[in-house]
C-alpha cells in the first residue's frame, strides 16, 4: 500500500492534463464551433479562415493532452479506468468520433482550393466541435454524481450520462470551449491588426462568457438536487475557494475582453475553466468512484513510482519544446504570410562521390547476414541489425541520384 501522497500524485497529473486539454484543445473545438456558425458570405469566410489559421499549428499538440491524461489514468488507476470506459462507453465513443472528424477537417483542408469547398469541409466537420466537448462533459457529470459503479459495464448504459447533471455539464463544456476560443481568436486578431475580426470575436467572447457563467451557476443548483454531498463541498466545503476563483476569473475576463485587453484575458479565461475542473476534483476528493477511493484505486507502489518518474522525465523534455511552440505561435512566427526567412547561403557545391560508400555498404550487408542469420547469440543479432541499418544508410548515399539530369 502506497502513501496517500504517492497514490494521489498521478491523479494530479491526470487532472492537470484534463485542465490543459480543456483550455487548449477546448479552444480548438470552440474554434470549430465558431466556424460552424460563421454564416455565409465574405465575412463568414474570414471568420472560418481566421479560426483555422490560428489553431492549425498547435491543434495536434493540444489534443495530445487527452492522450496524456488517458495513459496516465489507466496506468495509475486501472480499475477506475476500466469501469468508467465500459459504463460510459457511448459518450466516450462519441467523443472519439468527434475528434476523428475534427482532425479530418485539418487534414482535408489541405486539399481544398475554393472557398466553397472550405465551407463544406468546415461545416461538416465542425459538428464534431459540439459533439466532443458535450460527450466529455456528460462523462464528467456521470462520474461526479456517482453513476459509474466499479465493474465492467456495471452502470446504466444511458442514464449514466443522459441525466440532468451530465447534460448541463456537457452544455457547459460546449459553452466554455466556445468562450475560450472566442477570447483566443480575438487576441490573435488583435495581434494581427484585423479590426473587423477582433470586434467580431470580442462580441462572441462576451456572449459566450455570459452564457458559460450562467450555466456554471445553474450547474451548482442542479447538483443541489442530484448530488447533495458534492453540492455541499462546492458551496461550503473545501471546493469553495475554487468556485470563488473561477467566478472571479470569469468576471475579470469579461471586463478585460470588454476593454480589449485580450492577451491578459487569455489567461483569465483559462484560469476560470481550470478552476472549475479543480473544484470538481476537490469536491469529490478522495472518492474516484462509489466505494473506490484514490488509495484503493491506485496501482501497485512500483508502478506509481515509474509513472511519476516517466511524467517528470518526459515533462522535462516536452515542456521546453511546448514553450518554444507557443512562443513562436504567439509571436506570430508561424502565421500565414509572415516575414519570409532568408534563403540558404550555401553555394552550389559539387558533390564528391567516391568508391568507399558502396564497399562499406557491401561489407555491412555481409556482416549483417552473418551476425543476424547465421549466428544465434543475442549480442550477434544486435550487431547484425546495426550492420544492416548501416548497409541501408551507406547504400542509400551511394546510390541516391543527386545530380539526376
Amino acid at each position: 500500500m502506497s502513501s496517500t501522497f504517492l497514490s494521489a500524485l498521478p491523479l494530479v497529473f491526470v487532472l492537470s492534463g484534463v485542465v490543459l486539454y480543456a483550455v487548449l484543445a477546448g479552444a480548438d473545438l470552440g474554434a470549430g464551433f465558431w466556424q460552424l456558425f460563421a454564416g455565409r458570405g465574405r465575412h463568414g469566410e474570414e471568420i472560418r479562415e481566421h479560426a483555422h489559421h490560428s489553431m492549425a499549428p498547435v491543434w495536434e499538440a493540444n489534443h495530445v493532452w487527452l492522450i496524456f491524461a488517458l495513459t496516465v489514468f489507466w496506468t495509475a488507476y486501472p480499475t477506475a479506468f476500466g469501469s468508467i470506459a465500459s459504463t460510459l462507453a457511448i459518450p466516450f465513443f462519441l467523443a472519439g468520433i468527434g475528434i476523428v472528424f475534427r482532425g479530418a477537417a485539418y487534414a482535408l483542408r489541405a486539399g481544398a482550393s475554393t472557398p466553397r469547398e472550405l465551407a463544406v469541409i468546415d461545416t461538416i466537420f465542425s459538428l464534431s466541435s459540439i459533439l466532443t466537448p458535450f460527450a466529455l462533459g456528460a462523462m464528467v457529470g456521470g462520474i461526479a454524481t456517482g453513476r459509474v459503479p466499479v465493474g465492467n459495464a456495471a452502470g446504466e448504459r444511458f442514464s449514466s450520462w443522459l441525466n440532468g447533471t451530465s447534460i448541463l455539464v456537457g452544455i457547459l463544456a460546449v459553452a466554455a470551449s466556445a468562450y475560450l476560443a472566442a477570447v483566443y481568436l480575438a487576441a490573435d486578431a488583435a495581434r494581427r491588426d484585423e479590426r473587423r475580426l477582433e470586434s467580431a470575436f470580442r462580441t462572441r467572447a462576451l456572449g459566450a462568457g455570459v452564457v458559460a457563467g450562467a450555466l456554471a451557476l445553474a450547474g451548482i443548483l442542479v447538483l443541489r438536487g442530484q448530488a447533495r454531498a458534492l453540492y455541499h463541498e462546492l458551496v461550503s466545503g473545501r471546493a469553495l475557494p475554487a468556485v470563488i476563483v473561477s467566478a472571479l476569473a470569469g468576471l475579470a475576463t469579461l471586463v478585460l475582453v470588454y476593454r480589449r485587453r485580450f492577451e491578459t484575458a487569455r489567461y483569465g479565461a483559462a484560469l476560470a475553466v481550470a478552476a472549475v475542473v479543480a473544484g470538481w476534483a476537490l469536491a469529490q476528493w478522495p472518492t474516484i468512484l462509489p466505494g473506490l477511493d484514490v488509495r484503493q484505486a491506485a496501482a501497485p507502489h512500483d508502478t506509481l513510482v515509474a509513472v511519476v518518474a516517466a511524467v517528470l522525465g518526459g515533462g522535462a523534455i516536452v515542456f521546453p519544446s511546448l514553450v518554444l511552440l507557443f512562443r513562436l505561435t504567439l509571436a506570430g512566427r508561424l502565421d500565414e504570410g509572415g516575414p519570409a526567412g532568408p534563403a540558404p547561403s550555401a553555394p552550389g557545391r559539387p558533390e564528391a562521390r567516391h568508391g568507399l560508400l558502396p564497399r562499406l555498404a557491401l561489407a555491412c550487408l555481409i556482416a549483417g547476414f552473418g551476425l543476424l542469420t547465421i549466428a544465434d547469440a543475442a549480442w550477434a543479432h544486435a550487431l547484425g541489425v546495426t550492420a544492416l541499418f548501416a548497409f541501408v544508410v551507406a547504400g542509400f548515399f551511394a546510390l541516391v541520384p543527386t545530380e539526376e539530369s
Binding site: S86, T303, E404
Partner: protein
C-alpha cells in the same frame, strides 16, 4: 478492500466478442499504414531539405515543401486514428486495461510524451517554412524523425509484452510485484518486432511514394523533378526490402522459440514433428495442408537451423487454445510472398543503378512499381494479422484470454458500424485530398524543369 478490487472487473461473457475484435482490427488496419509513413517519411523530407541546404538547388526545396504538405495531412489522420486506438483500450478491452494497466501502461505513457514532441515539432516544422532560418528549420525536423522511432519503440514494447508477458505476478486476479521497465524493455521479444516494423515503415512509404510517381511516368510526367522524387524513396525501399527478408527470418526464429503454437499455426503444422517440412500455398484442413507445395525439412532448417530439429505442432495445446490456422497461415504467406517480390524488385533497381548508373527505363519496371505501393501496405497489414491473430485466443499470451478482456457494454455493434462509416468518409476525403495535392502545379520557376 482487497476483496472489492479482486471482484472489481469480472469477465462479461460478451456476445459481441467477435465484433469487438473486428472493430479493433479495423482500427489497426487504418492506423498502421499511417504509422509507417510517420516513421519514415519525415526522414525522406529532411533528406530532400538537406540537399537544398547543401546545394542551393531549388528543386529540392520544392520537393521538400510539397512532401511536407502530404506529411502533415497524413500526420493529422494518424493523430485521430491513433486517438481512437487509445480510446479502444477502454471502450473494447476494459478488463485488459484494468487488470494489466499497471504493468504495460508505462509504455503508452512514454509514447504519449514521444507523440507530444512529434506533434510540437511537426507544428514548428510545417508552419516554419520560410519563417525560420533554413538551418533552424532543418533542425526542427530532426526531433520528428527521432520521435517516430521512440513512438514505435514504446508501442511495440506493449505489443511484445502481450506476446511474451513478464515482469509481474498474478495473484487472485490482481497483478502484484510489478516491474514495468523489465516487463516492457528487457523483453527479448521486443527487438525483432521493433526492427521488423521500423524497416517496414521505410518499405511502405518508399514504395507507395515511388508508385505514385511511377503512375506519373507512365502518363508521361517525367521531368527532373519527378525523377528525383521517385528516386529518393525508391532507393530507400529497394535497399530496405532485401534487408527485411533477413529480419523477417530472425523474427520467425524468435517466434519459433517463444510462441511455438503461433509458429505451428503459421505453418499449419498439426503434429509435433522432427525434420518438419514447409508448405507453400495450399489450405489447412483436418490437420494437414491440402494442395500445398511441400519442401522437406525446410521448417526445421529455417526455424532452428538444424535438419532434424523437432518443431512443436498445434497438438501441444488443446484445440480451444489454438488460433484460427488458415487466417494466420494465409496472412503469413501473403506477407512473405509480397515481401519476396518487393525484395526482388529492389534488387533489380539496385542492379540497374550500379551497372547502368541511371534509373530503369523499362515500362514494366514502372508498372511493377505502381502495384508495389499498395502491395506493400497489404504486406504490412498481413504481417500484423499474423502476429495478432496468431496470438489468439490470448490477449496476454497464456495469461488472459481475449474473451475475458472484452467490455460488457452492449454498444459494440452500433459503435463498430459508426466507426466503419466514419472511416469510410475520412478515407474518401483523404484520397480526394491527396489527389488534389498531387495536382497542384509545380512552381515552375523554382523547379527549373
Amino acid at each position: 478492500m482487497i476483496r472489492v478490487l479482486a471482484d472489481a472487473l469480472v469477465p462479461a461473457h460478451q456476445q459481441y466478442l467477435d465484433q469487438a475484435r473486428q472493430m479493433q482490427a479495423l482500427s489497426f488496419a487504418v492506423h498502421i499504414p499511417l504509422v509507417a509513413f510517420g516513421i519514415s517519411f519525415p526522414a525522406l523530407v529532411l533528406f530532400a531539405e538537406s540537399r537544398w541546404l547543401r546545394t542551393g538547388d531549388p528543386l529540392y526545396r520544392t520537393l521538400a515543401r510539397r512532401w511536407t504538405r502530404i506529411l502533415v495531412a497524413l500526420f493529422a489522420v494518424g493523430v485521430i486514428t491513433g486517438t481512437i486506438l487509445s480510446f479502444e483500450m477502454g471502450l473494447l478491452w476494459p478488463n485488459f486495461t484494468a487488470t494489466f494497466g499497471s504493468v504495460f501502461g508505462l509504455g503508452f505513457a512514454i509514447e504519449g510524451f514521444s507523440f507530444f514532441l512529434e506533434a510540437i515539432f511537426i507544428g514548428i516544422y510545417v508552419y516554419g517554412w520560410d519563417r525560420l532560418s533554413p538551418r533552424a528549420h532543418f533542425l526542427s525536423g530532426i526531433p520528428i524523425v527521432i520521435t517516430g522511432f521512440t513512438g514505435s519503440l514504446t508501442v511495440i514494447s506493449v505489443n511484445a509484452w502481450m506476446n511474451h508477458p513478464g515482469g509481474f505476478t498474478l495473484r487472485g486476479g490482481r497483478v502484484v510485484d510489478v516491474h514495468q521497465w523489465q516487463a516492457l524493455f528487457a523483453n527479448t521479444y521486443l527487438w525483432h518486432e521493433l526492427v521488423h516494423m521500423y524497416i517496414a515503415g521505410y518499405i511502405v512509404s518508399g514504395f507507395v511514394l515511388a508508385g505514385a510517381y511511377a503512375v506519373g511516368r507512365l502518363r508521361g510526367r517525367w521531368g527532373r523533378y519527378e525523377r528525383t522524387a521517385l528516386a529518393i524513396p525508391l532507393t530507400v525501399a529497394a535497399l530496405a526490402a532485401p534487408v527485411q527478408v533477413l529480419v523477417g527470418d530472425w523474427a520467425a526464429r524468435d517466434v519459433a522459440r517463444t510462441q511455438p503454437v503461433k509458429l505451428a499455426a503459421i505453418e499449419g503444422l498439426a503434429q509435433t514433428t522432427s525434420g518438419a517440412p514447409e508448405h507453400l500455398l495450399g489450405w489447412y484442413e483436418n490437420g494437414r495442408i491440402r494442395f500445398g507445395l511441400e519442401i522437406p525439412h525446410a521448417l526445421s532448417l529455417l526455424a532452428f537451423h538444424s535438419w532434424n530439429a523437432k518443431v512443436q505442432g498445434l497438438d501441444v495445446v488443446p484445440p480451444a487454445d489454438r488460433p484460427p490456422v488458415n487466417v494466420v497461415r494465409f496472412s503469413f504467406q501473403t506477407m512473405v510472398g509480397i515481401g519476396t517480390l518487393l525484395a526482388l524488385l529492389g534488387v533489380v533497381f539496385v542492379g540497374v543503378r550500379i551497372r547502368r548508373r541511371r534509373l530503369p527505363e523499362s515500362r514494366w519496371f514502372y508498372r511493377a512499381l505502381v502495384v508495389a505501393g499498395p502491395l506493400s501496405v497489404v504486406a504490412l497489414i498481413a504481417g500484423w494479422v499474423t502476429t495478432e491473430v496468431g496470438r489468439q485466443p490470448w490477449v496476454v499470451y497464456r495469461v488472459m484470454p481475449t474473451a475475458d478482456a472484452v467490455t460488457g457494454a452492449g454498444s459494440i455493434p452500433v459503435g463498430y458500424t459508426v466507426l466503419a462509416l466514419a472511416y469510410v468518409v475520412v478515407g474518401i476525403g483523404v484520397v480526394w485530398m491527396l489527389r488534389r495535392l498531387a495536382h497542384v502545379p509545380l512552381e515552375l520557376e523554382e523547379a527549373e524543369r
